[in-house]
Symmetry: C2
Subunit: 153 residues, 2 copies
Amino acid sequence: MSESEQTLPLFFKRVLLTVDADDTDSTKHAFRFAVTYAKDNGISLGIVSVMEMEDINIYDSLSPDRLQKKREAVEEVVKHYANLAKQYGVKSVKSLIGEGGDVDDVVLDQIIPEFHPDLVVCGADMVDARHKSGKTIGLHLAKRASTSVIVVR
Amino acid sequence: MSESEQTLPLFFKRVLLTVDADDTDSTKHAFRFAVTYAKDNGISLGIVSVMEMEDINIYDSLSPDRLQKKREAVEEVVKHYANLAKQYGVKSVKSLIGEGGDVDDVVLDQIIPEFHPDLVVCGADMVDARHKSGKTIGLHLAKRASTSVIVVR
């Protein structure tokens, strides 16, 4: 890379925001950063939430009704943030729902290959809160993703 | 936080870029993101490199001459990036040099309290490359810092 290439501007073109139902301050900050960046740069914003099957007990998992309710709750969260993003002025907003055993794996193996972001945005609570598996979500994304990752506090 | 507060724009106001002498692609991408963001938003950019005393053998550490040479090499790296940032059009650029046993600790305990960034930018190589101590630098920053952290690939 030459000196002139080193100082070429670098914008992210597709930003993926991970949100969850726990409406924490860091999720809100992550949302605010993502919509600000997406609007200012006229880029696409994907908003994803993952329904973690691990969190669902065996009784619920056997009941299609209860499973459907949980699915709808996750969809509701994404829809809420997607609407706010559109109201804020982000032109291209895509809602994404993941489902699986582990947020990291679902985002890495299903959502990123589907949406092709070059930046993943997550709130710090995803980092601070430890998973059942003992993994910290945002950090594992930052380590394993092929994209850039921002952890917002 | 009300709905209207949720969609307030969120800009970072002081960005700290960590660089090192290993002039990797991810450091260059991190630099390009940092200068783009700092220029576009008219904010302050700090550029830091840390002289790791762990990397210095006992012979060198006892020689003021050799120590001075290593210090100058680290200063040179920061100066190089600071000059490029100014050329690119970032108005407020501050060069920072850290010195200590561990990059993470130095950034967290010395540099962040001095510069007060609200975003720390580091290249993914700081994450991928394992430290002698077995820690990954960027990830520990992301976990321990009180600021937001972006790992750029």
